[in-house]
């Protein structure tokens, strides 16, 4: 028998003292301490003072006020939400009106430009160049035959992002269409130009910073005899076949005899120089 005081070994969970204290000391330790000081007959029948009743009345009032307050603020939040939705709608209609105005003004600019250029040979050459390049850069609206591709998330998505169409997938598809000889591409009516950004923003995919709603309808004008076949052979076609087969996403390609793609309203004149006559 050894009488030397031994240091108790450090508990393995000593570093989790806070959690232990919460779990093993849920009752205020003062209850036990005060009760130990009381005489046994006092302990049998705890005395109740008026302040106990007062505090309990206070607790009850607290619960009632809390419940009332939550119920009172709910309609306010709903009306605020409805107002916000309304304001978003109003802003979107205003944006559409402004875009139409931009298109009108662009048309006026076109007319004024051709009037200013005159009719001599070099001017006609310039106009021909503008007419040729306009559709390619998205400055002019384009009409013609092409393909329509409808893509959508997999029908049963349990929140798995891999079952949803991502901005990357649309980027791949748009680039594949360009590479397969498309002259003009639009996603959900938004014309793509060389400067168009297709990006994910939160849950939505945006094109030119305008968010899209599912399903995504990609329209491309190009040679209807070759466009679809070349797309299927391209890397983008393989990418989307994989998504459709392994992820059950919608990927429907169809020919269209006549598509009308509006000009990209985001195109602005960035660089200009005077022509020496």
């Amino acid at each position: 028998m050894s009488t030397t005081p031994t240091v108790p070994p450090r508990r393995v969970d000593a570093s989790m003292d806070l959690l232990n204290q919460i779990l093993h000391q849920p009752v205020d330790p003062d209850y036990a301490r005060v009760a130990a000081d009381l005489a046994p007959e006092d302990r049998r029948r705890p005395r109740a003072h008026w302040w106990l009743a007062l505090v309990l009345v206070l607790a009850g009032t607290l619960f009632a006020v809390g419940a009332l307050q939550t119920n009172r603020t709910r309609p306010v939040q709903e009306t605020e939400r409805a107002e916000l939705v309304e304001r978003i709608g109003a802003a979107e209609t205003q944006q559409d009106a402004l875009r139409r105005q931009v298109e009108d003004l662009d048309g006026q600019i076109d007319r004024l430009r051709s009037a200013a250029l005159g009719t001599d040979a070099s001017s006609r050459a310039l106009e021909a160049q503008i007419d040729r390049l306009g559709p390619a850069v998205g400055l002019a609206s384009v009409t013609g035959p092409g393909v329509v591709i409808v893509v959508d998330d997999a029908p049963a998505t349990d929140g798995d992002a891999r079952d949803q169409v991502l901005d990357l997938d649309l980027q791949v598809l748009a680039n594949g269409l360009w590479a397969s000889g498309a002259e003009a591409v639009a996603i959900n009516g938004h014309r793509l130009s060389a400067l168009t950004a297709i990006r994910g923003a939160g849950d939505a995919i945006t094109v030119d910073y305008r968010s899209l709603t599912r399903p995504y309808r990609v329209e491309a004008i190009g040679d209807p005899r070759t466009l679809q076949a070349r797309l299927a052979e391209s890397a983008a076609g393989a990418w989307w076949n994989d998504l459709a087969q392994n992820r059950d996403m919608t990927y429907q390609t169809s020919d269209a005899s006549r598509l009308v793609l509006d000009s990209d309203p985001g195109i602005t004149l960035r660089y200009a120089r005077t022509v020496d006559r």
């Binding site: 009381l38 049998r44 106990l52 505090v55 009345v57 009850g60 607290l62």
Partner: protein, 110 residues
């Protein structure tokens, strides 16, 4: 008996009078309620264990409610209010669960 009557009277008073809290205090009411629940269940468990004293209950109730609200208020001032209130709810929630489990064991022997 007194505790139950007091609680019911309090709830009825609150529903009938519908007192409005100052706007500045409203964010701290939910956290105060959680603290009050913790104090109540702790007291009930102490009562079942035969160690209940009203003085300790009153002091722990008031200090719990005030400290919980104060912690969240301080958190709001330094920009971590929502995180701190989550912390308070987690700690008090664990305590409430532990106490209710002990109460259940004493009452139903299960």
């Amino acid at each position: 008996m007194i505790p139950l009557v007091g609680l019911v009277v309090g709830v009825v008073l609150g529903l009938v009078l519908q007192p409005t809290l100052p706007v500045g205090l409203q964010p701290y009411l939910p956290i105060a309620i959680v603290a009050a629940l913790d104090a109540l269940f702790g007291a009930f468990r102490a009562y079942l264990e035969g160690t209940f004293t009203d003085r300790v209950f009153v002091v722990s109730f008031i200090s719990n409610v005030l400290i919980a609200a104060l912690i969240v208020w301080v958190g709001d001032q330094i920009g971590v209010g929502s995180q701190l209130s989550t912390g308070v709810v987690v700690v008090l929630g664990i305590r409430i669960f532990t106490n209710v489990a002990a109460i259940r064991r004493v009452l139903f022997h299960a």
